[in-house]
Amino acid sequence: MAKTLYHKHIDSHTIARLDDDGHVLLYIDRQVLNEYTSPQAFSGLRQAGRKVARPQAQLTVVDHVNPTTPNRIALVTDSQAARQISYLAENCRDFGLEHLDILDVHQGIEHVVAPELGFILPGMVVAAGDSHTTTYGALGAFGFGIGTSQIEHLLATQTLVYKQLKTMRVTLSGALGPWVSAKDIIMALVAKIGADGATGYAIEFAGSTVKDISVEGRMTICNMAVEAGARGAFMAPDDKVFAYLKDKPRAPKGELWDQALAQWQQLYSDPGAHFDQEVALDVGALAPMVSWGTSPDQATTIGGAVPNDADAQHRRALDYMALSPAQALSGLAISHAFIGSCTNARIEDLRLAAQVAKGRKVAKGVRALVVPGSSAVRRQAEAEGLAQTLMEAGFEWRQSGCSMCLAMNDDVLGPGDRCASSTNRNFEGRQGAGARTHLMSPAMVAAAAITGALVDVRTLMEESV
C-alpha cells in the first residue's frame, strides 16, 4: 500500500502498537537537550535510581539562558541561569552525555547546532524539549517537541508513548520573487490556515518550489510549522540535503555513507499515498510578510493593513500592540531590530541581512542586534566579512544563543518597545513584558533597522540601484 513519508517513519520506529486509537511505543533515534527544560528530568531519574538508556543518542546544549555579550566568559552573573548551566554540566558528567557548554567551540542554538554537526540524519525520529524541533523535517528526519516528563521518559527508555497524527500535505508551487524568502512562505501559510490550522497533524511540504529552496530555507519553513500547531513537518530529503550532510562531523563516512544514502533515497511519500488534508500555496504571488498582532497567524503583507473589524481577539491584540484597526503597516516606527533565533540566524540569513545593510546606517534611535545561531555561524560570518558590514552599519554583533527570541537571558525588551524581529513568536510578553514584536524575514528586519520603520525591503533595495 502507498505510504506517506510520515507513516514510513512511524512504521519503521514502532516497537509495539498499544491500542486501536493510534498509540504506539515509538523508538527515538536522537534527543537534543537544553538547560532549561531538562533539569527536572534528570532529577526525576536520580530520584527513581534510573540510568540513561542510550547516552550516545543524546546531545546537550546550553542555549536559552546564556549571555550573548561579545566578550562572553564562563562566569554568568544571573545566579539562576548559572545554576541551570552548572546543573546541566553536572548531569552530563554523571550520566555520560555529550555536552556543548557555553564556551564550547560548537556552542549555539540546539536546532542550529544539531544539523550543522550532522547529528540529525534523514529517516531519524528526533525529540527535544523545545517546540521548534520540527526544524529537523528539512533534513528528512521527523522531529517533534516534548515536555520535561517526556524527556525523562526518553532518557530512561529511548522510547516515547506516542499517538499518531493525521497528515497534511502543503503543496508549494511557483517561484519566489526578489527579496521574498522561506520565512514569507511559512508566515503566509500560518496566516492562511491559522495558529491551530495544523493541530493534530504532521505536515509534509511538497511541490515544485521545495527543490528551489536551500536546506537552510527549508529549516526555516519546518521550524515555524509549529506556529500553525503542527507537531512535525517534513520535506522528502533530496540531493541538496545529501550534499549538506556529506562531510558533516557526525555524518556517516565511506561505505557507511553509501549504505545510508541508499536507504535515505527511499524516504518520500509513495505516489498515491493518502493525506488527510491538502493545502496549496502559490509562492509566486507572495510579498514580504509582517505580523501585526500577538499570534503568528496575525500577519499580512508589508503593503497591507491591520484588519478593520471588531473581533474581540483582534481588539485585544491591537490594544497590546498599540495599533488601530485598518492602520497601514508600512511606515510604523520601531525602536529595536533583532536578527537571531532558530528560525533565522543561519549563515544565509546573515548574508541577506548584510546585503541590505551594506553601505547603509541603522536609523538614529534604533537598537539593532545580530545574534548568530551558532558559534560556527558567527565564525563563518566573520570570515566572509558579514560581521564587519553589519557592525559598520551600526548593528551590535553578539555571541550565539536564543537571546531576545524569548528573552531568557539579559537581552530583553522593555514595555512599549517595538521590535522588528526575525524570530518565530510575537506572543504577549515574549521578548519582554509589554514589548511589541513584529515577525518578518531577516532581510525585512535589516531594512526596518535602516529606515527606522517597517518597510518593504524591495523598495529600499530598488531605490539604491
Partner: protein, 200 residues
C-alpha cells in the same frame, strides 16, 4: 501522580483563543531546576499588576479564585514546550481543563502529570463557558470513569477520551515504569533496528 476519578469544583471561564504557554508561565519562572513555586507564575502578567493581585483577572475574583477547573478557548497551550505551565496550573489547584482544542505538546504535558484535558465540540464548550461565567452556576462535577460532566440544573455532558489516557489518569500511573516493563521488547527492537542502520 495523583489519580483523578470523580471531582467536584469551581470552573473558571477563560475563553480567549490561542492562549500560549508564554502567557500561562512567563519566562522569569523558567530558571529553576526543580518544580516548586510555579503557582506564583501562572498567568503572571494578567494576574498581577505591580506584584499585587489584579482585581480584574478572573482567578482573583471571589467566585472563581478557588477554581479547580478551567473552561478555555480554542488552541489553548500553544507555543513553547515548557512543562512549567502545567506544573504551575496544578500547583494553583487546577485539576482539569475543558476546551474545544489543545496544542499537542501541552496536551502531552498535561497527560504526563495527570491534569485531565477534556475536548468538547465548539458549541458545547461555548455553552459551558457562558454557564460558568455566572457565579451561581460555576460548579461542575467531572466523572472521568463515566466520561461525564454534570451540574445542578444542567443536562449531563458526555465526553470522549482515549482508553489509554483514561486508564493512566484514573490510576495516576508512572508512565516510565510501565514502559520499562517492555525493556526486552525495546532491546530486541533496538538490536534489529541498529543492525539495519550500522551508521547510527
Amino acid at each position: 501522580m495523583r489519580p483523578f476519578d470523580v471531582e467536584t469544583g469551581i470552573a473558571a471561564p477563560y475563553g480567549a483563543a490561542n492562549v500560549d504557554t508564554d502567557v500561562i508561565m512567563p519566562k522569569q519562572f523558567l530558571k529553576g531546576i526543580d518544580r516548586s513555586g510555579l503557582d506564583k507564575g501562572v498567568f503572571f502578567d494578567q494576574r498581577f499588576l505591580h506584584d499585587q493581585p489584579n482585581p480584574g483577572f478572573i482567578l482573583n475574583q471571589a467566585a472563581w479564585q478557588q477554581a479547580a477547573f478551567l473552561v478555555v478557548g480554542p488552541n489553548f497551550g500553544c507555543g513553547s514546550s515548557r512543562e512549567h505551565a502545567v506544573w504551575g496550573l496544578m500547583q494553583l489547584g487546577i485539576r482539569a481543563i475543558i476546551g474545544s482544542s489543545f496544542a499537542g505538546i501541552f496536551f502531552d504535558n498535561c497527560q504526563r502529570n495527570g491534569l485531565l484535558l477534556i475536548e468538547l465540540p465548539e458549541p458545547e464548550t461555548a455553552a459551558l463557558l457562558a454557564r460558568v461565567s455566572h457565579p451561581q452556576h460555576n460548579r461542575l462535577t467531572i466523572n472521568l470513569g463515566a466520561q461525564r460532566i454534570s451540574a445542578d440544573g444542567m443536562a449531563d455532558i458526555a465526553f470522549e477520551i482515549d482508553g489509554l489516557r483514561k486508564a493512566a489518569i484514573l490510576a495516576g500511573q508512572d508512565a516510565i515504569g510501565v514502559t520499562l516493563q517492555r525493556a526486552a521488547d525495546i532491546a530486541a527492537f533496538e538490536q534489529r533496528y541498529l543492525g539495519e542502520r550500522p551508521w547510527l
